[in-house]
């Protein structure tokens, strides 16, 4: 394991700038998640570190050494792809052994066998070692794919949305397992996803990418509570943050530069009220079982907030909405520090 740094790395495909001057420091043993929508440059960033793409400018350092010109095999990284991750003509065992059988590594057969079996146990696929890799379920395939990265002891693990093709339950299970394995091994891991739950639950630090730029880098809590701008605020939080002009709801002591308000569900206090003192009403309610999403209308604006499942509120009820220390943004969309 090793430190990995990007220093002002840029990459364009034709006229399309995929990654714009991204700088990023990944410390040894850290779990970093890059979060962003499709086309934000997440995968390109990973491929630049892996050596599958060459940077147009900037430096990539692995363990303090500049690797810009090194080929993928010389960089000592492991990569888990989003799909097509297993060699279809090989068995599970051979897939796991493949990186170790590389002529560059010259590992003894006994060592390979021991390593493969240990990793298979770690990713809980040891009962299917002799299966053909195409005869596995989606979850098993991704376990093997992760295992194929784990058999090596690389400088860094790069994972490109490894769980995105799985169903929700499996995704949840593997998320936990991946986090467990990472902390057991103390592995340095750069993980790319567009799933905010994966980012929030697994990351030591999250990097928010938008249009090829690294907008903010911080712990999940920092990013959630103190988003750099409206874009970042919208990436995290379920339901989405409510963005309101200043005049919709009464606010106390707003900064003078504030141009809009970001109100997450915990920033909204909702009380049943009669029509006279209410400043909003309930449009409809989504029942999600363990919680309710209240869709509210206030000052002609739509808002969404969480309510506990036993809340007596009904659609059409007038409510009194109060803001509790919400997030303020200035005219250009940046958060105003409070």
């Amino acid at each position: 394991m090793a430190d990995v740094s990007l220093k002002a790395v840029s990459k364009s495909f034709g006229t399309n700038a995929a990654v714009k001057s991204v700088s990023l420091d990944i410390k040894d043993g850290e779990f970093i998640v890059l979060l962003g929508p499709t086309g934000a440059g997440k995968t390109t960033t990973l491929r630049l570190i892996a050596g599958l793409e060459r940077a147009d400018s900037g430096d990539i350092l692995i363990d303090g050494e500049r690797v810009n010109e090194a080929g993928p095999s010389e960089r000592d990284v492991a990569f888990v792809f989003q799909a097509y991750s297993l060699y279809p003509h090989l068995s599970v065992y051979e897939n796991l052994a493949f990186p170790l059988r590389s002529p560059a590594r010259k590992m003894a057969q006994a060592d390979i066998d021991a390593r493969v079996r240990a990793v298979a146990k770690m990713v809980r696929i040891d009962h299917k070692l002799e299966n053909k890799s195409t005869k596995l379920s989606g979850g098993e395939m991704q376990r093997v794919a992760i295992g194929r990265a784990l058999v090596r002891d690389p400088a860094i693990f790069l994972m490109d949305e490894p769980l995105s093709s799985l169903d929700a339950k499996l995704r949840g299970d593997l998320r936990l397992e991946l986090k467990r394995i990472q902390s057991d091994l103390g592995a340095t891991l750069l993980y790319v996803t567009h799933d905010q739950i994966e980012a929030m639950t697994m990351a030591d630090r999250i990097g928010i990418l938008a249009d090829g730029t690294l907008v903010q880098m911080g712990t999940p809590r920092e990013i959630y509570e103190r988003p750099a701008n409206i874009h970042v605020a919208q990436r995290l939080g379920q339901p989405h943050i409510n963005l309101l002009p200043m005049d919709v709801l009464p606010v106390q002591s707003a900064p003078s530069a504030a141009a809009s308000i970001g109100a997450r569900t915990e920033h909204l206090q909702i009380e049943a009220a009669d029509a006279a003192e209410g400043n909003g009403c309930i449009d409809w309610i989504e029942h999600l079982g363990d919680q309710k999403h209240l869709h509210l209308i206030a000052g002609g604006r739509k808002l969404v907030a969480l309510a506990d499942p036993f809340s007596p509120l009904q659609p059409g009820d007038p409510v009194k909405l109060t803001l509790k220390s919400p997030i303020y943004f200035d005219a250009s969309g940046n958060r105003i520090a409070s």
């Binding site: 050596g51 993928p72 990569f79 097509y84 060699y87 002529p103």
Partner: protein, 322 residues
């Protein structure tokens, strides 16, 4: 409820043809197969007829006595001798010798069929190997790398198939005479390779395009060079395409007649121009021609049967994603 479940049990997908459609389709396929088998049947039966039976009118379809005379005549040369001379010889040394003597002839040696057959094997398999080997490398290059003028180059490669090859027969004939490639196995291998390689590149490019790049990228990251990744990851997955391409190339090279007639006459002559030259006493020796053709069919038949799964999948490639 039971009615509903019974209905479900007999229900079939709307895309699956009904039983009548299947029966009609099956009958048509069998009929078509039988029609295409007629020439084959005729060749094989001719090879086991006697020369008089083979040209009798009305033709004898089933009512003839099988004979190995065709095969004897194919593999031997004979000369006519007087009855006294034949009687002066010792007893016949083989069945073929006996058959020849019954027709007042003696076997004087082996015919050229076997060397011609071996030529066919060397030239057809050699050129198929070369065409598929070069085609795979070229197709991989076109599929994976940024090649300047890629589309133009591919079109140029394809354009070599746009005229009948025999249209360039005279230039090739003159060229081969100058280069000393006339009537050499090397010359024929090069020629068939040149004709087949465009087909191979196009077919294989389609197959290799279908193999996701992620596999090679994974192999590169796993510590393999691009060449190692090509052999260990791309080739095993391209076997279907390679097999299908190999069959197409082999069938062409094996059956090619026009260039073989033009460019070979002796040492490098292949079987197709040789077989029709088998002339017996008083005209064509049809049973020998039939025997030569029957034997000539065997290698391609074996090769196709061995690879028929790949061939089927190869013909329908791209249609169904596994």
């Amino acid at each position: 409820m039971s009615g509903a479940s019974k209905h479900l049990a007999t229900a079939h997908s709307v895309v699956e043809p009904g039983p009548w459609a299947k029966r009609i389709a099956g009958t048509l396929v069998v009929l078509y197969a039988l029609i295409t088998m007629i020439p084959l049947f005729w060749i094989v039966t001719t090879s086991i007829k006697t020369p008089p039976d083979s040209i009798s009118y009305p033709p004898k379809i089933f009512n003839f006595t099988p004979s190995i005379e065709g095969y004897c005549n194919l593999f031997t040369t004979r000369s006519r001798q007087t009855q006294e001379y034949i009687e002066s010889l010792g007893p016949a040394t083989s069945r073929c010798d006996q058959i020849a003597r019954d027709r007042s002839m003696v076997v004087v040696g082996e015919s050229n069929y076997w060397p011609r057959f071996v030529n066919s094997i060397i030239i057809a398999f050699g050129s198929t190997f070369l065409a598929v080997f070069l085609g795979t490398l070229a197709a991989y290059g076109f599929s994976r790398f940024r090649v300047p003028l890629k589309d133009d180059l591919l079109f140029f490669i394809l354009s070599t198939r746009m005229m009948p090859p025999i249209a360039v027969a005279i230039p090739i004939y003159l060229m081969y005479r100058e280069l000393g490639l006339s009537d050499t196995a090397l010359g024929m291998i090069l020629l068939y390779t040149a004709i087949n390689v465009s087909l191979a590149v196009w077919l294989l490019k389609g197959f290799i395009d279908e193999i996701p790049r992620e596999y090679e990228e994974a192999a590169l990251i796993d510590g393999y060079t691009r060449m190692q990744a090509f052999f260990r990851v791309v080739l095993p997955q391209a076997t279907t395409g390679i097999a299908a391409t190999a069959i197409f190339c082999l069938i062409f090279a094996w059956n090619e007649y026009a260039f073989a007639v033009l460019l070979t006459s002796g040492t490098a002559q292949t079987a197709p121009p040789f077989i029709p030259t088998i002339i017996g006493e008083g005209g064509m020796d049809w049973p020998a021609v039939g025997a030569g053709t029957t034997i000539f069919l065997v290698p391609i038949l074996v090769f196709t049967i061995l690879l028929r799964k790949q061939l089927l999948r190869g013909i329908t490639f791209g249609a169904v994603r596994k």
